[in-house]
């Protein structure tokens, strides 16, 4: 895809996605082969009401579980329009990330399982976190990044979760959101999925936490959004 076509495509996808999520899904599938559709899940606040996008504070990190009830995702409001961008994988292949959604197209979401070695936020710790521009990572010496402090992989959430530095082979897996009639929905994932490895690696932990492994793997049709600091006892920054 050349630059001109790419920009044109991004523009069309972004515009039409505001109108029709089914168009959006079809477009992504056609262009990338990295989009995977899951149950459409409405994002809710703690009271169980549809999440009001304006309640998402800029610079804060929020968590919800999608597409499975045990797979965490980070939800961010970057406070400015986040434009679509092309994500390049280390094998040279690419896919198109649609950018932000919401009234300002500033809301984005990524799977919070580190694509390097699967660290993820648990109720005890969170090693993978978002660092806003005004609270930069000391190790990375930069903000506006997602960093996993276990092995120091650094990702750029404004560019579809691409790897900026560190050992991760893959970008963050994007959670594809739509914004329809004032409500936010998650509709699928975009990128390299590692859910199978995640479930294999944490089988016994998930069984303990969700009482049964089958329950941990249940797909969701709604997801409650809370601040990471509320969900996790200790957020570990580096």
């Amino acid at each position: 895809m050349d630059r001109r076509t790419f920009i044109k495509t991004c523009g069309s996808v972004a515009t039409f996605s505001l109108l029709s999520s089914s168009f959006f899904s079809r477009s992504l599938k056609a262009q990338t082969n990295r989009f995977k559709k899951y149950k459409k899940a409405i994002l809710l606040d703690k009271q169980g009401n549809p999440l009001n996008p304006s309640s998402l504070e800029v610079g804060k990190q929020y968590i919800f579980f999608y597409p499975y009830r045990s797979t965490p995702a980070l939800l961010l409001n970057l406070g400015k329009e986040v434009k679509p961008s092309e994500v390049k994988l280390s094998d040279g292949s690419t896919y198109l990330w649609p950018g932000g959604v919401g009234p300002q197209r500033s809301i984005i979401a990524f799977c919070a399982i580190c694509p390097h070695q699967l660290s993820y936020p648990t109720p005890e710790y969170s090693f993978i976190n978002y660092y806003p521009h005004n609270k930069p990572s000391k190790a990375a010496k930069k903000g506006s990044v997602v960093q996993c402090c276990a092995h120091m992989s650094i990702f750029d959430p404004e560019k579809g979760g691409i790897v900026i530095d560190g050992p991760s082979e893959y970008p963050l897996l994007a959670i594809v959101l739509t914004y329809e009639e004032g409500k936010l929905y998650a509709i699928g994932t975009l990128g390299v999925e590692l859910f199978r490895d995640f479930f294999d690696a944490y089988r016994s932990d998930l069984k303990k936490m969700y009482k049964s492994f089958r329950r941990a793997k249940k797909k969701v049709d709604k997801a409650v959004v809370v601040e990471v600091e509320e969900y996790v006892k200790e957020v570990i920054y580096c």
Partner: protein, 419 residues
């Protein structure tokens, strides 16, 4: 990942579980048939070897990968210092190889390599010859008693615990029963396996001694000028925090050890001890010299530091045995394994790797029972531009959160190897 690679391969499973029975009647002839262009033989089932075996199969499921390892079970050296001071159980360091066989279709051969014929492309094990197209040697280290024979006799009484397994178990046993007052730890001159490990061990033991209220003085005898990495973080321990409990002797070489009389003679005088941990000099295993990949007198294998390929085409040496940009450590071997897996996969499929090659290592080290320090080093190599970018970062501030990251660092590695 193809569906096929997740299927239990009965043939592989038989190799893995029943080779011993089969092998009794097998003469030293070619076993497992001829190599057909896509066979990768990996010798050494540590951090590097497992990584290559798994990732080649992930990248090229139709490849034929053999992992030859003399031990039936993997035991981790990283985090073994934690075990010595009761921070973790030994069982947490042990992992079976079965997922490599069942999930990825690697042929696990539980056997010892006796010889390798680099010209005929054969690995000779105690049960027969295995042909290869690509060979990866990830053999770790040997203790170098020729460099300093003083350590040889001391091994039996005070094991170094720098090779995973029974050395740690025995060292722990004698540590637990130790009641004396004078403790000695020695550090060989760099390079050796895991540069921060002796310094972490000393700091952890001092912290443990304090915690238990024991009256023990540690003589820390170091052949180097200072801790080679995370210097500031470690020096804070020896010069400040544990000052009264430890004597840190730098640039001090061990001349003689008398394990019976419990005396050690060094270039800075003689020290009596009640308990010791003698860490000898190290080198690449002599098998590598025998097969001609290393010249006589050389300690480590010279490889292309960006690809780990030796002077023999399609023969790679990774991990502690080779001289590369990265320090000798389990994490580095793992990182090197990933690089080599990509290179081999691209050669098998005849599709040159287009992206960057990342050589990355992170080390964490405890400075007491609760806090840790860390360092990161990264070399990025652009295969097309042929340029290397280096990045180094150290965090020498003692932190509890760094200790938590340390555990997660190890668990992540184990997840990557065994999931």
């Amino acid at each position: 990942m193809s569906k096929k690679s997740y299927t239990v391969n009965r043939r592989n499973f038989i190799f893995a579980s029943g080779l011993g029975i089969l092998a009794v009647s097998v003469p030293k002839s070619v076993i497992f048939g001829e190599a057909r262009g896509n066979r990768v033989v990996v010798v050494g089932g540590g951090y590097g070897g497992i990584t290559v075996a798994k990732y080649v199969k992930k990248l090229v499921p139709e490849s034929e990968v053999f992992l030859i390892e003399k031990n039936p079970m993997f035991v981790s050296c990283p985090l073994s210092n934690h075990f010595l001071v009761n921070l973790i159980d030994y069982g947490e360091l042990c992992f079976p190889y079965n997922n490599l066989v069942v999930k990825y279709g690697v042929n696990f051969v539980n056997d010892e390599v006796i010889d390798i014929d680099l010209h005929r492309r054969e690995v000779i094990t105690s049960r027969g010859k295995i042909k290869y197209d690509y060979l990866v040697l990830s053999l770790g280290i040997e203790y170098d008693y020729e460099e300093n024979p003083a350590f040889k006799e001391a091994y039996w009484s005070f094991p170094p615990a720098f090779k995973p397994g029974s050395e740690h178990l025995y060292l722990k046993r004698i540590l637990d029963s130790f009641e004396g007052e004078r403790f000695v730890i020695t550090v060989p001159k760099m390079p050796y396996r895991c540069p921060p490990a002796p310094y972490e061990r000393a700091a952890l033991l001092l912290s443990y001694i304090k915690q238990e209220g024991l009256k023990v003085h540690l003589y820390f005898i170091d052949e180097n000028d200072k801790p080679p990495i995370m210097t500031e973080g470690f020096m804070k321990a020896y010069e400040d925090f544990y000052k009264e409990d430890a004597t840190y002797l730098t640039r001090t070489k061990v001349i003689e050890i008398d394990p019976k009389a419990k005396k050690i003679k060094t270039t800075k005088g003689e020290i009596r001890f009640d308990m010791a941990n003698f860490i000898p000099p190290m080198r690449a295993p002599k098998l590598l010299e025998k097969i001609g990949i290393m010249k006589k007198g050389e300690k480590w294998v010279k490889v292309d530091p960006l690809t780990y390929e030796t002077k023999f085409k399609n023969v790679f040496v990774i991990g502690d045995s080779s001289e590369t940009y990265l320090p000798k450590s389990g994490y580095a071997a793992h990182s090197e394994g990933k690089v080599v897996a990509k290179i081999i996969s691209s050669r098998i499929t005849n599709k040159p790797w287009k992206g960057e090659i990342v050589h990355h290592a992170i080390c964490y080290a405890m400075v007491n029972m609760k806090q840790a320090i860390m360092m990161e080093v990264e070399y990025k190599y652009d295969l097309q531009k042929k340029k290397v970018k280096k990045f180094v970062y150290e965090d020498n501030t003692w932190k509890v959160s760094t200790a938590k990251r340390y555990y997660e660092w190890a668990r992540g590695l184990w997840r990557d190897l065994f999931t």
